[in-house]
Amino acid sequence: MRSPAGRPPRRAPRSILPWLAVPALVVFVGFAVIPLVGVFALSFTTWDGIGAIHLSGTASWRAVLTDPGLPHALRVTFLVMAVSWAVQTPLSILLGTFMAGRQRYRAVLGVVYFIPLMLSSAAIALAYKALLDPNFGLGAGLRIEVLSQDWLGRPGLAFGLVVFVVSWQFIPFHSLIYQGGVQQIPKSLYEAAQLDGAGRIRQFFGITLPQLKYTVITSSTLMVVGSLTFFDLIFILTEGGPGDATRVLALDMYKRGFRASLMGPASAIAVILVLVGLALALLLRRLGGRDAGASQLEGA
């Protein structure tokens, strides 16, 4: 990174600069690199989590790759990812655009919308579970038959519910990103459009949406990669059930590792998760095009 005027900053001599990265590097190596290498190594062993660790070559990988549970877990993972992306993105864009307005009540609403993000996933899952209980939940309490479904007990409903709760939790965050994106769009574009007689909807599709291209990519990357780590919410809400209808990869890893004491195969799944996450992140960068880093702002 060059400094704006093209000369090195005076205060910090160049020789010290690299050392400033050391604390971050130590944390990164300690909490990301070493565990990653450890997990990779564990995936070639047999270990029940308690006794001795035995090298077992590719046995764990073969067990995982031939297990019909893996394609299922991958399918569920990608389905949760795709459906929750498709639900969250349009809603977040609309909410973000709406909140980018200047009226004071929008600021208040913005704060209200933001509340779900401040709650922990565990609290959210517990609250929804209590509300949706077919016998003691909202539907039964208010005597509304439609609401007292077996929400978490039927595969289709449970899946839809997971997507709903995930969206409820994360739409606020992505709305915030879009709000920032919309506020960056130069006013002059809208003024020009107004002179040409474009209405609000034309302005949205003609200016706002195209200008948000890179915001969409940023937000989608966060959603897609983040959805690989959905665990706590699904774990508490459905435990991957009913059956294995909502058993995503991260949950599959936990259940194999800690419930079934199969640390080798669980580590193999962890490695697969890392690879899938990397591949997705790279893919999304590609989609952003080579000029993704360039500014879209007028005059910059």
Binding site: D48, P134, N135, G153, P242, D244, A260, S261
Partner: protein, 436 residues
Amino acid sequence: MALSRRTLLGLAAGVPASAALAACGSPGPGKSGSGTTYWYLNGQPQEGVRAGAVEAFNKAHSKEQIEDFTFQNDAYKTKIKTAIGAGKAPTLIWGWGGGTLRTYVKAGQVEDLTSWFGEHPEVKKRLLPSSFAAATVDGKIYAMPCETVQPIILYYNRKVFEQVGVRPPKSWDDIMALVPKFNAKGIAPFSLGGQSQWTNMMWLEFLFDRIGGPELFQAVIEGEKNAWSHPDAITALTKVQELVRAHGFIKGFSSITADSNADQALLYTGRAAMMLHGAWSYGIQQARGGDFVPSGALGYMNFPPVEGGKGDPGNTVGNPAQYLSISSKAGAKQKKVAKDYLATGVLQDAEVKRWIDNGSVPIRLGTEKLLAASKSADFLQFTYDIATKAKVFGQSWDQALTPTPAAAMLDNIVKLFQLSISPKQFASNLNAVTGT
């Protein structure tokens, strides 16, 4: 959140290291005391009794102090395994015996207590003999049975039975005949917290025993080839699915969990007529059901026989006791304190009395008088009789099996109850994991 900013700040601010460690839930050899640690489950009323026993021991032994830490049930199951695997086990390991204990033994993580029990015959003689089976691995004792005996019991709501004008079932056919009668009145025949998995398992435990006798599941534990495909096993699995198809369980059972006690609430609020559950359920219904237990509305019985079945109808399944093991990695001093606790701290009179007050039967022998004097005398006598008179007290399957097949079994049981796999598929899925 293993190491949060707050913990780091806490450390920086000079909070005692043991407090910071406890905050992460990984108590190490903390304080200046003996360093003897003991982890067990939280949740009242049991937690209070456990804590009370430790407190009494600490008071009586000024030089031998035990530090206790509590954890939530499901979290504990993961936590204790991880801690043992990481070589950070507490001195006293609380557990359910059986298959999990076997994995500890295989890994050399727990002390062999056989000779210690030999030197302390009085300790062994005080306890229910049936409780030692799940503490024994290959003829050696690796844990001391403690706390209470918890057979699985068929509970029913007398008021609901009167309302519908029917009598408690005396056989499996009676159960199947009761189902449409309750459904016709808008009452669920059976409450079930199916999302918790092990709740469904209790049904299979009894059906396997009543239809095929205890040998049927014993063959599974011994790893006999294709044990799950035995014709009697297939019959039992088919019967469960027949009950599901007949709407024997409450609507939405697969989304109900047992940890929230919603399944118990269905019984005492009269929305369900019957429930198969552990003996611990009595205390919960007594504490939460208001007038339900005191008014005598709670009925209970052993699981009825199945027509033509080979099992003795007096047999039972459940938890023969809870178990305390000593970590083999603990220091000599810690081990001595732990053993002293086993000899003089476990199931002393005060603890025995508290278990009985909570509506459970401690595994100590010779408590008949105390049981009879309790406000729950009938129920306690019933439980005591089941536990002492059962020819076979089968251990809960998920504890009897080692963790790998146990996890596969629970997953498949849920699918069986959802009717998404057939009895034959269930059997072949499980033969694949328990055949070794």
